[in-house]
Amino acid sequence: MITNVSIRTSLAGTVALLFSATVGAQSLPDLSGVWQRSFPGDSSLVLDPPMTEWGQERFDLAKPMHGPRTASATESNTAELHCLPMGFPATYYRPRPFEIIQLPDRAVMLFEIDHFWRVIYMDGREFPEVPLHTWNGYSIGHYEDDTLVIETRDIIGWKSENQQRWLDRLGHPFSDELRIVERIRRVDAETMEIEVTIDDPVAYERPFTGALSFRSRDFELAEFICQELMLSDLPEMRPEN
């Protein structure tokens, strides 16, 4: 029996094959492959973003494990300690690799950390009329010359002192109104850059932009399950140890 799902899957597969055969002819940028953040790297897009009063209040409550306000695992309130998804662009600051797969109607990012994926829809759709806020948001994209441009909205924002949501590893908060634009391009064969523009009128007085650099890796993604944290007997992994 052929179900709707199997028909759609096989069509997508066929289109993908056609696409891969024509990528060269159309000169679409090839961003495919495994990428990992370059080290040493910064822990935020900009060190001193223009926070609103709302943003500053929440920044003051943050106890990050990086940067000038570094707290220990027993003191910090970063979402990383709970293995919660960090959203974007914060996920990029984790030192774990990810893979980009380009298909004709979407790009897919596969993240080693927690085996999660991110779909960037490129079929001309708009954002949902009724937003469903999620940990990693809703992303649509398009190509501009050598650049993949991604806009992401509907990311679950800062909720409480116990549910911190940061743009980075330094504790800069974001709200449900956050909109991110990423411009991804290959700088050279070994290097990819993602320029990120943050637009969150609740947390920041004006949009600001920063860039992250990634290097090409020649290994395959593995499995990294953050929740193994709950099994760790190391005294610094869990405050109760």
């Binding site: 040493p40 790297g41 494990m65 695992a73 910090s76 990294f224 190391l234 005294p235 610094e236």
Partner: protein, 137 residues
């Protein structure tokens, strides 16, 4: 290198990686969250018998029974980077250490009084090979 299934080629790769990592360590000394719990100005070394090897994420751990000068046995732990880093760089896996193995761990001690733990910088394997593991991926 007598680690995992190392080869001549991977030895060269390993040396190159360690060299570049050493150069970057000064900058990245505080880049990792776990480091803040450890006193990076101090380096200690303990030798003992492996009681546990926990090859899990986000950070791998090893535990040793260490006998002090007075004959008292204390259990020490050493924290490492992630599973994938140790696997990719050194071909380490869940079989690398077994209870009873005699090893030395060298690293930065926990800041908290009475907590016998360290951020591991190097390990001397049962066969005497020293592996520098203070890396960033």
């Amino acid at each position: 290198m007598a680690v995992g299934h190392g080869s001549k080629t991977s030895d060269i790769g390993f040396l190159a990686i360690v060299s570049s990592l050493l150069l970057s360590m000064a900058v990245t000394a505080h880049a990792h969250h776990a480091n803040s719990a450890y006193d990076r100005t101090k380096t200690i070394s303990v030798t003992g018998t492996v009681t546990q090897w926990q090859f899990i994420n986000p950070h791998v751990g090893i535990w040793l029974d260490v006998t002090d000068e007075d004959g008292n046995v204390h259990n020490w732990s050493g924290e490492f980077q992630s599973v994938q880093d140790l696997y990719r760089l050194f071909s380490w896996n869940q079989e690398t250490f077994k209870p009873g193995d005699r090893v030395t761990i060298i690293g930065n001690p926990d800041r908290r009084p009475g907590v016998r733990s360290m951020w591991t910088e190097a390990v001397v394997l049962p066969d005497g090979t020293r592996v520098d593991v203070k890396n960033n991926p």
